[in-house]
Amino acid sequence: MSIFILIPLLPLFASLAIGLGGRRCHEYGHRIGIPAISLSFGLSIWAFIEVLNNGPVSLDLYRLIESGSLVIDLNMYIDQLTVLLLLLVTGVSSVVHVYSSRYMIGDPHFNRFFAVIALFTASMLMLVMSNNLLMLLICWEVMGICSYLLISHSRQRPSACRAATKAFLVNAVADVGLSFGIILTFFTFGTLDIQVILSQAEGMQNHTVNVLGWIGLDLPIYPVPLIPFFLFIGAMGKSAQMPFHVWLPFAMEAPTPVSALIHAATMVNAGPFLLIRLSPLLVLSPYAMTFIAVIGGLTALFAAIVSLTQTDIKKILAYSTISQIGFMIMTCGLGAFVVAIFHLLAHGCYKAFFFLSTGNILQAVEPSHPHKHVAHQKSPGMLTLYVGALLLACIPPIILFSGPYEHMWSVTGFASAKLGFWIIGLITVFVTSAYLFRSIMSLFIHGPKTHWPNTGIHTLDNHTIQPQFINGPILSGLILTTIVLGGMLGLFWSWFTNFLTPALSLTGLPSQEGLLMMNFSTWILVPLAVACMGWAYAYKMHTQPRQPSPGVNRWTTSLYVLFWNKLYFDEIYDAYIVAPSLRFAHWLWQTIDVRGIDRAIHGIASSSLLLAHWLWRIVDIKGIDRIVIGIGQRSIGLGRWLSQMVDIRWLEQNINQVGKQADAAGQALQDVEPHTIQHQLLVMILWLVLATVILYILV
């Protein structure tokens, strides 16, 4: 079924066409982009049916590298996991395309925007289809550079450019882990073909590598359990997990549809996808699994609390994404990969929906009526936002209390883990629902507090040509899809699991129980109640104007400030990593290059000049000149003596002349010697050429 290769190629070609067309296409970039991505979506559905009926499909592309034992064949592999993600990515991306075709009207870089989002989508599609770690890495990085281009979409805004650079650099640091993991994988398995690696992984578990062999020492390590650690570090960067999460809130500088794309369909989903794709390798390393679960859990909790304190709706949404992805990562760490996929798909749909409706509202609220809220109380977008918030708040609990977790808690072997994750889960549910509702309510009552660009597209003049947002049909379509999808997945949980099982090649998992077969009251009521409590809390906080109540002591205030400042991650990075590296670089340059090496070279040069000068004075002037003069004087004396004997006058004249000539020659020599090195070098080169010619003639 080689036609499936068109799924990523269509957006890629669309991107090329729009990009190369440049300004010639005026504002018609979407007319190429939308059909391409819709066709991809259609093909993805076909692929889904194909995989459902006939199992995985693999496509060979071409041989990228062949060097000694390193042979890299690019090939694609479409299995159950891939088709689900293909559906999500193409689906969300087509919605985003359609939405942006209205949203971006009036933007001076309309076509560039469409070219980049098409490339972004294409690289994510390629990533989920790739069956080769190197190809995955390529797509991974291309996606990174696309996000860079999209975040810095308004190039004239310095903050946007800084955010873009920051996003890319944070990812670049994390990608060291991924690249190293890939090299370690090749070193261990001798191939980068994912299917081969996964099938060999179990057998290679006790394979050791002597890392100090080349210096004759003996330090064996087990590479197979180590690989997931490094690969996960890459995933941490892309999915904005704890130490690397700082880029995602800044990525909000991008136009809102891009946020929908980054948060829902591409980019951040790559991390969980990588973990799920390599799950058979992952489960071989319990320590890595624990590490992953802990990082995921911490991130989920941290980001949720931070978002509770934020006042900027886009920041809140960013931290909510970090928190949700943290959930997925934690789920992967616990081994419940099926749940993670489910969460990934559901979160993708809801988040896309949430962002697009936020974009709607922001655009409706912000430019023309910055402070009025009454007019927007009845905005149709408001209802959609409430629905989205409710849905978003309720996914994690439903997942958290579903069957597979129970199993995995017992698998990882920590008795406390179950309790711990329950608590984390419940806190996060509470907080999620609280901040979401708070943000929505404050949006309608106070207006958004996001930093919207004052320049460019959103000025009042341009606003008049902006269409009022009537993307209602799209949004309701999306919400219907998600509800239907969620309902289907909830109802047919076991079917979903069975569908995915071959792709994950899970072993040892018991038959997955459907959600409905679980204890109904527990799994739905507890989290729902918690979510409602969060809602109520948000409402209460909101309606009662905040007063300095006596109950709030200093400790809680400082805690609030701490989380409001996101635990000072950005400041710490700036102060302890970025600024010192720059200072160190400058110091190194000044100290070693300029003062060290260059001065040493200059020292050699000037000391040889000094030596030359000394030689000239000692040997030439004091030595040879004096001898010559001495000889001259002696000869004059001799002459005088002789002159008394012979013809004094005639001789005297002659000798004087000789002496003068010697003096003149000495003078000329003095003129020549201290000339610049330049001339000496030229003379040297000339000499070299002459010597060669003479050599040639002689021989």
Binding site: I65, E66, S67, L134, Y148, V176, F180, I183, L681
Partner: protein, 502 residues
């Protein structure tokens, strides 16, 4: 016809010389440029024909020509080409037309002399890359220095004479050591300058030790490796654009080529002995060059220091002695020629407009010059090895090759890549993003068609090699495999015996 096909390489060498002769009869500046450009294009065509006729499956020298030159000293004119040198010749032929194109309007004084120097250096470099006789190699190695020196001191920036002297002093020191090495080889290797004969000759350990040192230092200065690199930023920043392109694009590669052609095959044991130190020095160069580039405020110096970092990858790849490493190193040399050449051309285009190389003088170029910024961005991301662009393939191969030696080196070198991403993106951010910082900046004209024609071929190559490096890899595969086998057969026992300091 057979006369031509038998003397393919001599023809390739002769075309630029013929161009110089033709230039002697032309007075008109425009025609001077056209003739120079024409002869480099003919050269490129010939080299492409050469590549097409080249038999990739063979590991030996092809198109070999031999002629006695100075029979008394056993010196001959001998040239030939194999998988390693063909890429370097191709790179030379690719970059020289672009060097002429990019100096079309910027060089207005003594055009004839300038064009002649470019043609002369092109011809000399091709002989360096194809010479099979050490004496010939040395002569032309020296000859490449002279046109560069004149390009710097006659058409360079404000500090040109200091930079020129520094360049020549460093180079002369290097070539003196090279001369010593070559004479040593001649005396120890049976009184011949024939490269192939010397490669077959086995030298004693002490001889290898001393000769390796002298050759290594000569090539390390040319590369340049870290303690010997300070001539590079000065020479690059003061040279005219075409000079920087040729210097960074091709001349530096003579060092790497020298390692592959002399050090590895002739002194395998000494190479293996020195390898750990050289490898650590390379890793140091990668990180150190990155830090240096981070500290720069001058565009050309930034790119020059990034070259130091990239050349670290080349030596790293060469001295791990496996086919991934060496192929990666050769690819890295080729790719570095493309990307750094392109970056220098781009900076030259900026310099032509504003006469400033200071990063702080720029800002917000995306507005007046969108085409320029798009291409500049592509070359910048290629320079830090974004996957999908050409540098990535080379760096990845080198890192895979290094992983057989030491994981610590792999990790540290990756740190160098992160630094590269940092300085390149910061440069792009400061130069291209934001609001135009002066009124003049907002009215800069975008790239003209000729300027586009200079950089677009490079852009296409950067992406093409990044996504489909197969043909290039295939070209050098047989020769590299041969080299690796040669090394293995000699050094395996040796390496196993010795315990090295990490």
């Amino acid at each position: 016809m057979t006369l031509l096909t038998d003397h393919m390489i001599s023809l390739v060498v002769a075309v630029p010389i013929l161009g110089i002769i033709m230039l002697a009869f032309v007075r008109d500046q425009e025609w001077t440029r056209r003739i120079a450009f024409g002869s480099t294009m003919v050269e490129l065509g010939l080299v492409i024909i050469l590549c097409l006729r080249f038999d990739f499956t063979q590991q030996d020298m092809q198109f070999v020509e031999r002629m006695a030159w100075m029979p008394t000293f056993n010196i001959q004119y001998a040239v030939g080409i194999d998988g390693i040198s063909i890429l370097m010749v191709l790179l030379t032929a690719l970059l020289c037309p672009l060097a002429i194109l990019c100096s079309w309007n910027s060089i207005t004084t003594r055009v004839r002399a300038f064009m002649s120097l470019i043609l002369l250096v092109e011809s000399a470099m091709i002989v360096v890359f194809t010479a099979l006789d050490l004496f010939l190699f040395f002569m032309l190695w020296e000859l490449t220095m002279i046109p560069m020196y004149f390009m710097i001191i006659l058409w360079g920036g404000p500090n040109r004479s200091a930079a020129g002297i520094k360049f020549v002093l460093y180079s002369l020191t290097g070539s003196l050591l090279l001369l010593v090495g070559i004479l040593g080889l001649y005396l120890q290797g049976g009184h011949t300058y024939d490269l192939l004969a010397l490669t077959e000759h086995t030298f004693s350990a002490t001889t290898q030790f001393w000769l390796f040192i002298s050759f290594f230092l000569a090539f390390a200065i040319k590369m340049p490796m870290v303690p010997f690199h300070t001539w590079l930023p000065d020479a690059h920043s003061e040279a005219p654009t075409a000079g920087s392109v040729i210097l960074a694009g091709v001349l530096l590669k003579m060092g790497g080529y020298g390692f592959l052609r002399f050090c590895l095959p002739m002194f395998p044991e000494a190479s293996a002995m020195f390898a750990p130190y050289i490898l650590w020095l390379s890793v140091f160069a990668i990180v150190y060059g990155g830090y240096m580039a981070l500290a720069q405020t001058d565009l050309k110096k930034l790119v020059a220091y990034s070259s130091v970092s990239h050349m670290g990858f080349v030596t790293l790849g060469i001295f791990v002695f496996n086919s991934q490493g060496i192929q990666g190193a050769i690819l890295q040399m080729f790719n570095h020629g493309l990307t750094t050449g392109a970056l220098f051309i781009s900076i030259g285009q900026l310099y032509d407009r504003t006469h400033s190389r200071n990063i702080a003088d720029y800002g917000g170029l995306h507005k007046p010059m969108p085409k320029f910024v798009a291409l500049f961005f592509l070359f910048s991301v290629a320079a830090f090895g974004l996957p999908g662009t050409c540098n990535f393939i080379g760096e990845f191969l080198v890192l895979v090759g290094t992983s057989y030696t030491s994981f610590a080196m792999v990790l540290l070198s990756m740190g160098g890549i992160v630094l590269a991403a940092a300085y390149m993106l910061w440069m792009v951010q400061k130069v291209a993003m934001g609001e135009p910082n002066t009124k003049a900046a907002a009215t800069l004209p975008d790239l003209s068609n000729r300027e586009l024609a200079t950089v677009i071929p490079l852009a296409i190559l950067v992406l093409w090699i990044g996504l489909y490096p197969g043909p290039l890899m295939e070209m050098m595969d047989a020769s590299v495999t041969n080299l690796v086998n040669h090394m293995d057969s000699i050094t395996l026992a040796q390496v196993a015996r010795n315990v090295y300091v990490p």
